[in-house]
């Protein structure tokens, strides 16, 4: 043989899935919500999203260069972070620079300083959102009215309250209809409003086996059950008639489908995922009903992110054949 043979460890086959393909699938899954947001909030949406993605990718490129690590923008994870962060911003002119700033924070501080992809212990987009929320509370909660860009001919022309704010006032007056909420015709962050588009994206991710349905289902299910229990106990502002509206408002769907399922910051095994998702659901409802904040999805996910190492330690599967007590079945009669 004239050629040197490749001698490598088994296995000599690899499945087709790659990190890049998985990230691309997440981007594809976010596109329906992106299109819906553009229709609902206007031409400003592509600008905000593009600016945020650009900031994330550039931050990743530059920080890897400075830290003398190999270039990883090809894995598209920075694109996903950028897209998700932009979905958490209001559709206003200010969101453009806030997105750029948030993107830089998400990638440089939360992701790269901790070692890059797979090493961050909290969701980069959510931390960026929370930092922006704390730094610019008014600008982050100025909600343009849906379709106002067509009707009133401009961005920022009219603002509206979010359904969560309306519900927490108690009367429910001015709450958009469930149909409108499914379509996304309500106030809120630009990517969180269109429930149908988010669900389509979620189904795509499940069908492509990128995520398992366990986290979204347990997260939303826990929130729903907990809210019903609160209603039963007669807690203010939790009238059962608001339940569908509660589930469709705020960032619950966006968070449950796209943020809580982030690989790096959610538990790696099945039981762990269930505990993690239940925790997210409980904390979301507690914040919505008992805290001074109207919305709790991002905080609930961040808190559960921090608990992931502990959840994993508690739920580690037993290796095959590592039996608790000596439980030898079958014919061994020694």
């Amino acid at each position: 043989m004239s050629k040197e043979l490749i001698v490598s460890s088994s296995p000599h086959l690899q499945a087709h899935d790659t990190t890049r393909r998985i990230m691309l699938d997440v981007v594809i899954a976010l596109i329906p919500a992106f299109i819906a947001a553009t229709v609902i909030f206007g031409w400003i949406v592509p600008i905000i999203t593009a600016a945020t993605i650009a900031a994330c990718v550039l931050s990743e490129y530059i920080s890897r260069k400075i830290l003398k690590r190999d270039n990883t923008i090809g894995d598209l994870s920075a694109v996903v972070t950028g897209m998700l962060l932009s979905f958490n911003l209001p559709a206003t002119l200010d969101a453009i620079w806030m997105g750029v700033l948030g993107g830089a924070i998400a990638i440089i501080v939360v992701k790269q300083l901790f070692g890059g992809i797979g090493q961050n212990f909290v969701n980069p987009a959510l931390i960026a959102r929370i930092i922006l929320m704390v730094s610019f509370p008014t600008k982050m909660t100025t909600w343009p009215a849906p379709l106002a860009w067509i009707k009133d001919g401009g961005i920022d022309a009219t603002t509206t309250a979010t359904p969560l704010a309306i519900m927490s006032e108690g009367s429910g007056e001015g709450l958009p209809s469930i149909g409108n909420m499914l379509l996304g015709l309500r106030g809120g962050c630009l990517g969180e409003t269109c429930a149908i588009a988010l669900i389509i994206g979620g189904i795509y991710l499940i069908a492509r086996k990128v995520i398992s349905p366990i986290i979204p289902v347990c997260f939303i299910g826990t929130a729903a059950i907990f809210m019903m229990i609160l209603d039963f106990a007669g807690i203010d502002g939790s009238s059962i008639s608001f339940l569908p509206a509660q589930l469709l408002s705020g960032g619950l769907l966006l968070g449950a489908i796209f943020m809580a399922t982030d690989y790096t910051t959610s538990p790696i095994n099945f039981t762990g995922k269930i505990i993690f998702a239940i925790g997210c659901g409980l904390i979301t409802v507690i914040i919505r009903f008992f805290a001074s904040l109207p919305e709790g999805v991002s905080y609930s996910i961040i808190i559960m992110n921090l608990l992931v190492p502990h959840i994993e330690r508690l739920t580690r599967p037993r290796p095959f054949g590592d039996l608790k007590e000596k439980k030898v079945k079958g014919g061994a009669k020694a």
Binding site: I6, A15, S77, G116, I268, R318, G321
Partner: protein, 452 residues
């Protein structure tokens, strides 16, 4: 039997966790085995089994006959090695096996006569002891790939009752069809081997387990099993899901009997013996003819092979000759493997001889041979969900980096059988099996804890 519903002739499995859907690529399934003429020269490695290597029992210049013992060991875990040809011992060298160990090798030059040794005659079997002795003399090792001496497996320690014999025809590795051909071409040998073992070891149940991607083999064997003299339906066929690694011993035992082999224990501890189909069929032939293990059927396949097929060759034939006989390379390969693509060993050249436990030689072109560059772990959890041994590879990788022997032991790294599902499924292309091997060697080399 409870596993069998009325009117159904096939058994249903108990189910297992994990595994991956590997591509089948059973290109050679429908080609009848071609017999390769004996080569001019064979190289017989003295280590063709798990256990102690053999010591050559011949010297350079000796004349040997077909079936004559040329290597044996007085250690318990070992199996004798026989000459597949007649001729003269031309050299005794040392060679490096695919796994990296060095061992002695006896080189025999053929005289072209194929004179059969006087020692080759059907063994006299009167009881279990004479049977076990005969199995040892046959040189049989686990032909599924592991190469564990068969006589040890068939002779469990006193006090252990074996109630089930599982005949492993899963052949879950891609490409390989050698066992499938055995089922199709020598189905009666398989059945008679089963009855020999069943009677001599007094085993109640026999389960022949075959993956569903081999419906013909399932049909042939279940037809024989149901028509033969078995009024109590003690021999049954179980179709297995097409999910690698169904054929791995512990996974197979769980699937066929529902029993879990405890960590560090053997199948006999749960009353089971697992034997490969080709092993059991060889045993039947040996008991009839007394011809020891000197030939082996191999699947020759892969993108660099001109015409993939199954060939029966003399053990000890150099790989290069087997490949030229099979039609040669399409193009110079970039990777050559002994065994399947999931667990097989990559070879550094094609001069190595065929070993007893070989069941395939695969040659890949560059396209298939080059694996993706490993990237960072994204904690997607695919490795965790596919691990048939319920391990958490990312955690083990971290412990490997920390050289934490105690942590690795706790994480169950020793249970890993290196099936490769984790690395196959990893989107980042990480070399997880390599990390697992490292984990085991860290545990093995750790200083023993002091007994307090």
């Amino acid at each position: 039997m409870s596993q069998r519903s009325k009117g159904d002739t096939l058994l249903r499995g108990y189910g297992t966790r994990g595994g991956v859907a590997v591509p089948h690529r059973k290109n050679t399934a429908e080609f009848e085995t071609v017999k390769m003429p004996p080569p001019n020269k064979v190289i017989l490695a003295m280590q063709q089994h798990i256990g102690a290597p053999c010591i050559p029992t011949v010297k350079v210049g000796d004349i040997v006959a077909v079936g004559q013992v040329i290597g044996d060991s007085d250690k318990f875990v070992s199996a004798p090695i026989h000459s597949p040809i007649s001729g003269k011992v031309s050299a005794i060298n040392s060679i490096m096996l695919p796994g990296g160990q060095t061992t002695q090798a006896v080189e025999i030059e053929s005289d072209g006569l194929m004179t059969v040794s006087d020692s080759v005659k059907p063994p006299k079997i009167t009881d279990k002891d004479s049977f076990i002795k005969a199995v040892r003399a046959s040189g049989l090792v686990g032909l599924g790939g592991a190469g564990f001496p068969a006589f040890i497996k068939l002779n469990p320690p006193a006090g252990v009752t074996i109630d089930t014999l599982v005949v492993n025809g899963a052949e879950c590795e891609p490409y390989i069809t050698a066992d499938y051909r055995e089922c199709m071409e020598n189905s009666w040998d398989i059945m008679s081997g089963i009855y020999d073992v069943k009677e001599l070891l007094n085993i109640k149940n026999v389960i022949i387990a075959i993956e569903k991607n081999k419906p013909e083999a399932i049909k042939v064997l279940s037809d024989i099993a149901n028509n033969s003299n078995d009024p109590k339906h003690e021999v049954n066929v179980m179709p297995l899901p097409c999910r690698y690694p169904q054929g791995a011993e512990k996974v197979l035992i769980k699937q066929t009997t529902g029993r879990v082999v405890p960590k560090g224990k053997l199948p006999s501890d749960v009353g089971v013996i697992v034997m490969n189909v080709t092993s059991i069929s060889f045993l039947a032939r040996y008991l009839k003819t007394g011809m020891p293990l000197i030939n082996k059927r191999l699947t020759i396949d892969g993108s660099a092979i001109w015409s993939p097929k199954n060939v029966e060759v003399c053990i000890g034939t150099p790989i290069s000759e087997v490949i030229s006989f099979a039609g040669g390379y399409k193009e110079e390969p970039s990777k050559l493997m002994m065994g399947g693509p999931m667990m097989g060993l990559a070879l550094k050249d094609d001069t190595l001889p065929i070993l007893k436990q070989n069941n395939a030689i695969l040659a890949f072109l560059e396209n298939d041979a080059v694996l993706r560059e490993p990237g960072a772990c994204i904690r997607c959890g695919r490795c965790v969900s596919v691990c048939p041994m319920h391990l958490v590879p990312p955690e083990i990788s971290k412990l490997v980096n920390a050289r934490d022997a105690e942590g690795l032991e706790k994480a169950g790294a020793m249970v890993c059988m290196e099936c490769g599902c984790c690395a196959y499924a990893c989107p980042a292309g990480r070399r997880i099996v390599q990390a697992m091997r490292l984990a085991k060697s860290i545990i093995r080399n750790a200083p023993k804890k002091e007994v307090k």
